[in-house]
């Protein structure tokens, strides 16, 4: 009886030993696979984290190997250092988590730095813009006021009043537009605007009617398809066309600013799009200006180029609608004959 009992005990012990050694072997193989994988993947973690993780895996491999060999009775020496390895492994687990936290903190600091730098640059940009453009506007208003005072007692020059008042009105409009554009541009990046289905032809017609009502010196002709054309946009869509048309009027030396708007469907990279072309008979845009016209920055202000933020705002709004804008010559190679603004926006079917 005792012999059978001893044999049973031995059998159970052998089975247990085999089971545990198999478990250790599987753990060893899995850890080795992870080690090889991490060793090959150089960009999965940052440099420090990867180094610590590789060392951690080495310790785990050694620990599993030691456990496995312990059951096969190959060596006792490994068993003695196994416990010390485990202590080092636990410490490396701590270092692994700590390096992640440190990396996260560094990234957060860098992000905050960039955010503040961007905010500072933006404030500087608006400050310089205000200093330069508003100063120009007030100078014009001051000159107009001076002329009015001079002509007040001169009955022959009374006719000039109409012209001076017109200049003053234009300058006040320019100032109002500048403030409005700065407000819109500063808010563009702040909030995620909700885009809705808008008929682009209807919007352009509204802008056209409003401008024709207010101004006598423009002639706007248009060519649209019969069907309605929908795009994903918001209330700022009006500002695109208002700014482009006003830009054409402002930079025009002809008695009547002639503007022609054409809208048609196109396919761009197999995506249905709407193309809008705005032709004008203005002073035109030189090759250098074509590259910088949509990106007004600090340097432009200091170099006294550009007026207002209209085209910068247009570019930002179109970017938000996943569209694109560029400018060309009305007559190719001759910028002095006027310009064409090309806009492509994805169509919403």
């Amino acid at each position: 009886m005792n012999l059978i009992s001893t044999l049973e005990m031995n059998l159970i012990s052998t089975l247990e030993t085999n089971l545990i050694s198999t478990l250790d072997l599987i753990s060893l193989i899995i850890t080795a696979i992870i080690f090889l994988f991490i060793y090959k993947q150089k960009y999965l973690f940052s440099c420090n984290c990867r180094l610590i993780f590789i060392f951690l895996l080495c310790l785990r491999i050694f620990f599993n190997l030691s456990n496995f060999l312990q059951w096969t009775d190959i060596t006792d020496a490994l068993d003695k250092i196994e416990d010390y390895i485990l202590i080092i492994e636990v410490i490396f687990w701590f270092l692994f988590f700590y390096s992640f936290i440190e990396e996260f903190s560094k990234t957060q600091i860098k992000k905050s730095e960039n955010k503040y730098k961007q905010a500072f640059n933006q404030v500087e940009f608006y400050k310089d813009l205000f200093t330069h453009d508003m100063n120009n506007i007030f100078q014009s208003l001051l000159s107009s006021n001076q002329l009015c005072s001079d002509y007040l007692h001169n009955s022959d020059k009374l006719d000039m009043y109409k012209e001076i008042l017109s200049i003053s009105k234009n300058q006040i409009e320019r100032g109002t537009n500048l403030i409005s554009n700065i407000q819109k541009l500063s808010e563009l990046g702040k909030y995620q605007m909700e885009l809705e289905r808008i008929d682009i032809i209807e919007t352009i017609m509204k802008v056209k009617d409003t401008l024709l009502e207010k101004r006598k010196n423009i002639d706007i002709k248009s060519e649209f398809p019969d069907d309605k054309l929908y795009i994903q946009a918001d209330i700022l869509l009006v500002d695109i066309f208002k700014n482009l048309i006003l830009n054409s009027i402002q930079h025009n030396k002809n008695p009547i600013a002639e503007i022609f708007i054409r809208i048609y469907k196109i396919k761009k990279e197999n995506i249905d799009c709407v193309k809008i072309e705005i032709f004008d008979n203005g002073v035109g845009i030189t090759k250098f200006q074509k590259d910088t016209i949509f990106k007004r920055n600090l340097k432009d202000i200091k170099n006294h180029r550009g007026s207002g933020l209209g085209l910068t705002l247009v570019k930002e709004i179109i970017k938000m609608y996943n569209g694109e804008i560029w400018v060309g010559d009305k007559i190719k190679g001759d910028p002095s004959k006027g310009s064409i603004f090309h806009i492509i926006l994805p169509e919403l079917i």
Binding site: I34, R60, N67, D83, L86, V90
Partner: protein, 94 residues
């Protein structure tokens, strides 16, 4: 017989787990952090069972300890795989 080293490992392990709980807001920024924390927790259980096996039910707790190591290893492999998948998706998006 209880080994001193095993107790030290268990105490340090518990200490690190407390550290993870305190800094959870930062640790949670690690991609697939829940899997990684689970890996550590399972290894910690293994270390605690090593101490317990010296006191009671040696065979049973020894078996559980080794099961903890194998589950931990599988989860660690899964975490690395998920990390790689996430990185690939991010690269594709960018």
């Amino acid at each position: 017989m209880i080994k001193e080293n095993e107790i030290i490992v268990a105490i340090i392990g518990i200490g690190i787990f407390v550290f993870l709980v305190i800094n959870y807001s930062k640790i949670s920024k690690i991609p697939e952090s829940k899997i990684l924390i689970s890996v550590f927790f399972i290894f910690l259980l293994g270390w605690i069972f090593t101490v317990i096996e010296s006191l009671v039910l040696e065979s049973l707790f020894n078996l559980i300890e080794h099961f903890c190591y194998i589950i931990g290893s599988f989860l660690l492999l899964f975490w690395v795989f998920k990390l790689k998948q996430k990185r690939d998706d991010d690269n594709e998006f960018n």
